[in-house]
Symmetry: C2
DNA sequence: TTCCCCATGAGACCAAAGTCCAATAGCGCG
DNA sequence: CGCGCTATTGGACTTTGGTCTCATGGGGAA
């Protein structure tokens, strides 16, 4: 089901721009997907894209503007990178767009080469995001399969606490800690404490200190 | 020797701008330090600032331009954050400035409040940079006090290798590994492997795999 | 109710890591 | 040449961690 070509979403209220950018994208071996308003795009995005994609976004549109759409997208993680295009862009808008993580900001009329370059950049960025996201997802999945007690034990383990200390904190026998700990290592597929620490760090697993 | 007020470096080829921004900074309890060209500023910076500072930089100057200065600075780590001001700024310049990490980009004439806000933001950013840098420096210092052999052993330890495995890799007795390992923990001031892993990770210590 | 998962823990035992003390050997520097 | 640093190793011993088997009790789902 994975698509052959990376998707380039294009959102612009000008139909002729949509047509021309769409053609440009197709010629460069991308799969264009066009929308004539921010709302229309938002409605179509039920989940973050699972394959490389980027968004070419017009700054000034009736209704929800480009910057607002970008902000909404950046709230949800792993949204695709944004490239702004604008006919009447100004510097404050550019600053805000870049602060919100835009790949670049192009003023119409712009050179096709610049847009294609920006698209390549955005797609590469998204590939890395997706890769990191997959890894994160895998690790989080493993953490969720831990029982509550196992998560507690793991939280202490990655602080470097000894089994007997953990036992004292949780008011259980050291023996029981060992049992949980063994299950943690197995379920997390970690061979060593060092590995476990790295898994938890990359997953942002923080001990909810009691 | 530490200064009472954060330093605000100001680089602009227009003397009247230097005067007025200098006064503004002083009124806001900052210590202004003015330069009329990028070269002059570069010459004055022998080492990265050790206390909170930021740089208000004019985009268009004769000789070395603002963007080039910013690029030069960002090569050296822990340089202070940059705020751009410009009389004739355009969008491509803004994009490049922001891509290179500028805090913001203000067009002249700008509101004093905006500049002061940007300065606060930049100083806060720099404080965090400095704090992170100090920590990094401390850890790197400890690593440098390790002997070559100790660094080798540590590299294996943080991969989760067992003493006997390390011994095999280094072709020495397991006993010797224990000795080195104990010294590593002592010199790095780590109580547990978990701690050691985090220290090495934040210091960017990577095992030069043999 | 029966069955499974979870948390709890005991006993026995092995493996790994840490801690004493002690010793040998190479290497550079006054 | 001796001194200090580093690397190396041994022995003896303790502490910790990990494994295996077995067992109990609570709670929820079929």
């Amino acid at each position: 089901m994975s698509q052959e070509f990376p998707t380039v979403f294009i959102v612009d209220d000008d139909a002729s721009v949509l047509r021309s950018l769409s053609r440009l994208a197709r010629q460069a071996d991308y799969e264009p997907s066009t929308f004539s308003s921010a709302e229309e795009f938002l409605d179509s995005q039920t989940a973050p894209p699972q394959h490389p994609a980027c968004l070419v976004l017009d700054l000034g549109m009736p209704g929800l503007g480009g910057l607002e759409l970008q902000r909404k997208l950046s709230d949800s993680p792993m949204s695709c990178p944004v490239i702004f295009i604008s006919g009447n862009g100004n510097i404050p808008s550019t600053v805000q767009a870049m602060k919100q993580g835009a790949v670049t900001f192009l003023s119409k009329p712009f050179d096709q080469k610049d847009l294609l370059q920006a698209i390549r950049e955005a797609l590469e960025k998204h590939r890395q995001l997706l890769a990191a996201g997959e890894q994160l997802h895998a690790i989080r999945g493993r953490i969720e399969h831990l029982t509550g007690r196992e998560q507690e034990v793991m939280a202490w383990v990655i602080t470097g606490a000894l089994n007997k200390q953990i036992a004292a904190y949780l008011k259980i026998a050291e023996k029981t800690v060992k049992v949980h700990r063994a299950r943690v290592m197995e379920k997390m597929r970690a061979v060593s404490v060092a590995e476990l620490v790295r898994l938890c760090d990359t997953a942002g697993f923080e001990p909810a200190v009691a």
